[in-house]
Amino acid sequence: MTGLLTLSNGQTFKGHWHGKSSAIQGEVVFFTGMTGYEEVLTDPSYKGQIIVFSYPLIGQYGIQSLYAQSDSIQVAGIIVAGLYDGPLSKDSIPLAEFAINHGIPILSGVDTRSVIQNVRESGTMQSQLIHTSLPELAWEPVQTYFFPATTTTDKIQTVGSGSAHIGLIDFHYKSSILNELLELDCRVSIIPYATATETLDSLQLDGLLFSNGPGDPAALQHLFPTYRDWAERYPSFGICLGHQVLASAFGAKTTKLAYGHRGANHPVMNLQTKRVSMSSQNHSYVVEKNSLQDTPFSVLYENVNDGSVEGLVHDTLPLKTVQFHPEAAPGPTDHLELFHQFLAAAQQKESVKMHA
């Protein structure tokens, strides 16, 4: 069983096909972390993308559902060099079995380093992953809009029983964000992104966490005024897409990087302390630094390698946002402290209300 990965720049890469024969297309992106394939595959921010793992040996510890970031595999296709199919500990299932169960194809034996060199030079692009028995698909543009303007509001779900009550604005959050809040003894209401303000206000929340999510923040443009209103009235924290959305809501612009940041080793500097720490990242879009001039934000974190904006702090409000993933999963846990800071701010809610 063989299959082909075709990039829109014309390059093709052969491999062994695992799973039912199918033909899919999606934006090809690469992840440079050496562990955490399970977290990556189930991370909703990767929705619809074809993921290439740079580490050539994948699957050695199998899949333990414990670490999944959502109920299903979010990526559309999986590209690896070596796929491990040997013995595992008894509480794990093989990666191939997991992918087949979710109907997601894996192409193994691929020259992944060359794929990544292509993406590095040409930027992320549309690609097709096709079983050799099937014809090429009609090329479609890369999907970046995941948030339709008209949406039915799902039910608000509340979990946990802690004292602080946090609203998790759901752009397709990673379960480790929720778990981190629960770990810190919060009661968390999961709030669909298009929830009406009255409904939100009726929950008597202590703070809002704007979650990660897939694609272009501009897809949520119609809701920017609402989010700004919320952030001005509640202590807030934004992660990844949540960071981009909040920055945009206050007037900043976003742009797409050539090939994004996806990995576990991205150095970010806290401009207040000058300390550099490693962060877990997964994003294509960034907030443009020079668009911050007319906003009430200052840059809090900066990417050491390319100088891009990695985090913002509001000049007066208890509002912080980070482009990276402080909840890790996968990746380094150097920034868990940010959750503590957010909770501390949320617990000061009364004074904030007076201020607002």
Binding site: T32, G33, M34, P56, D111, N265, P267, R275, A329
Partner: protein, 1032 residues
Amino acid sequence: MPKQQQIKKVLVIGSGAIVIGQAAEFDYSGTQACLALKEEGIHVILINNNPATIMTDKSVSDQVYFEPMTLESATAIIEKERPDGLLATVGGQTGLNLAMALSDSGILAQYGVTLLGTDMKAIKQAEDREQFRSLMNELSEPVPDSNIIYSIEGALEFAASAGYPLIVRPAYTLGGFGGGIAEDEETYIKLVKQGLSASPIQQCLVEISIAGYKEIEYEVMRDADGTCITICNMENLDPVGVHTGDSIVVAPSQTLNDKDFHMLRSASIHIIEALGIIGACNVQFALHPETSAYYLIEVNPRVSRSSALASKATGYPIAKIAAKLAIGYTLAELKNPVTGTTFASFEPALDYVAVKIPRWPFDQFPQAERRLGTQMKATGEVMAIERRMEAALQKAIRSLELPIDGFRLAALADFPTDSLCQLAIEADDRRLFVLFELLVRGQSIEFLHNITGITPYFLSVMANIVNEWQELQQLDWNSMTRSRLLQAKTLGFSDQQLADLWNVSCPEIWGQRRIWQVTPAYRMIDTCAAEFRSDTNYFYSTWQGSSDVDRSHHKKKVAVVGSGPIRIGQGIEFDYCCVHSVMAAQKLGYEAIMINNNPETVSTDYEVADALYFEPMTPEDILNVLDFEGINQVILQFGGQTSLNVAAALQDAGITVLGSTVDLLDQMEDRDRFYAFLESIGLPTIPGKTALEATAVIPAARSLGFPVLLRPSYVIGGRGMIVLQNETELSEWLQQTTMEFPVLVDHFVTGKEVEADILTDGENVWVSAIFEHVEGTGVHSGDSISITPPVSLSQQAIVELTETAKHIATNMDYTGLFNIQFVYEGDQLFVMEINPRASRTAPISSKVTDVPLVQHATALLLGVPFEELHIEESYNGQPEYTVKAPVFSHIKLPGLSPVLSPEMMSTGEVIGSSPDLDTALAKALTGASVQLANLADGGTVFAEDSSIDQVDNASWEALGFRIVTEATMPFEEWLKTETKKVYIDFAPDPESTNAKQAAIHRLHVWTRPETAAAFNGTYSSITALAKGVLAK
């Protein structure tokens, strides 16, 4: 924070002689550190008495002191040089210990010397068992409970608080003899009793058992601002219980999920943050294979063997960056030198796996205790890089240069399966091959996991190799297809393995591969998994995918083939030579390509050569590189026997071996041809014969007369050499030993050995420093104390020797550097050996004469005329005596006889220099003895009865020693005394247990009267000549 401007002069402490546990990795890290400091305009002063290092080159620091690594000499240097700072974290444990001594004695404070990097409090907190334990308790980082006990009561007290199971480890016993794991009190008491009586000092370490845990290491860096990064983590294939230096290690970890990976990473950062490390640090953990429970095993607050490995595995130059952090820089200010565009404050992402396998000396010393445990025994290591674990493992195995057939150790084929299972449980150096053999015999992964605790992942990798091998056995060469061959190559099978399987020649497979275009791709070590562009020419081969670069351009290029893992007899000196050869070629406008597989060394620093290939040193692997580079000439003179071994295959493949024909190399190694050569140029030969089979040995010996010297052809470090005094000894020995024939049988000449390195273009000759060996014949040159210029040869003898050397050089059609071993039997000069390559003494000769032999030899090889070398101008006339003294690692190799013989045993060497011979001798011998009993304040010398007549009582008493014999105090009793210093037996049986006992007690063991004379200061009185007599 920028650099501290007040630091203008820094004293760097090196690691001294190579011993087991402290080897070439400190030449690499020390060299990097010195160069990093110099780059910042700092005046660098170095103390290191190891001459065979790049670190002690004049170009690396501003001033080198070849002085003993003692408090006294360090103090004297500080007093003279008045440095502002001290860098002590790149010289291994030696460096740290010396820095602690300087701090404790108040010397640093007295002279206002700042300790750079990690401060003394942190070093002590990490080094002191109790302080470390209490800090870890504060941090809630778990450490396995342990205690040192001297009695059953103490042992039970510990058990009451720690609970079972417990490990009992008697101190100083052969291979941990007498210890074990106790599941309950009854077994525990039995083991403690047994352990206390087995331990010569009646001491045991008892600790809670974490056997079966995975052993995981992290290399961590921290700057003064508190930024912490982990460069790499590593997973030991062997579970906890085998020293990490003796474990097969992979980087990055393979079987840890993201949560466990980052849990341990966070713990490492937590710990070095609490310690306040500035620079590099190594943290070792034991991780439960299922529950994520972990224990901290050890923290090394300095660069280490593991950090050198991590640097080579990732491309991140830990020691260089650590040196910059020590003078005040922060990680975010420093560029990542590999990419040149990103910063040092990041964590490398690998897209390959690196496998390290230790190289043990037990092929040379089968009589030593080869069980592995908590005491490291390996002398060196190899590393292999690939994108498949199977291929990486097979590459690493090939790099070991062991007499193996692919992944199979032939000797194990005869072992019954249950003995193999026992060997798998009680790990020794053969464990990897034992596991392969058991897999070949059909044992399951599950079974092997159950008996060894090795993670099933690693066993399944090995099973994949075995399965592929079994499948390939069913196939044959005629029906081979391109894709099937490629599959075998992808799993790491060499042409040689396939040729053996299918009974065809290697060149045939090589040729067909080229037709099919089945050739390896070369990929770059770029620290970032291709995320950023990088132009560092640091490569490894892999059999899938395409190459990252095209290197087939037509610049002038030459490849230098390295010396592989450090072994006894082939040590760091050859790495020194390879590095100098690369530098010389570059100076002449060549692109120099380095091929080597030793992760510890300077030669495998990617900044040394124009391109570095981390590959096994087999003809196939080398030819693949040459093919990719488009190179057709190689330099093999500097990689010791390793590089010479591939000469014939490379020449057959059409590659030019610079300097000599392969036939000449054979002429020098083949005894009959060698003697014929000597005779043809009118030189006398030592009477000798070649025995083609066992029955020919005794008649040959009879006709030559006893004693005789037996040795195989083509050897490293005198391996397999033995002197036999009479026919009875010879017959006994022949019965006990299996030898590979032909064997050379020589009349054993008794006399004075002398050696020299010779530089020649075939017409012009430079005879470099002449070394006189203190010990007479029968002692390997590497184990002899030696002196240059000679002190007991007459002027006439030196002239004769020099003329003979010139005569040989102009008659042997050789260009470059070679070494001649001479012996004077009375007035008769014999040539014992010609080594057509650089030798162990090349670095010392270069350093003491100021004539850079390797650089000149390389220039000659590349066609520079001899007269353009201007040797006379740089030659310093050898104004001083230099003494080289060997350093042994017997303490690490229980069971190895310390009796000097023609087989080399020392692991390292030091030098001492002075215009006064006695001072030079004293410096060298003091420097060589830092790990042994201190002779400075007297003590007792135990002499065996048979030797007492040869012991110079008066001179020892004058030095404050008292002579003890069995009659005055039994040996066992003497061993218990505090005053024991020296054991003497001048007529030893190589299996003498007293000598072995004395050696593991860190005592001086002297088996030759000349050694004793050198130590008590009577050697120089034999024949003291005036200085400056070296002939040219």
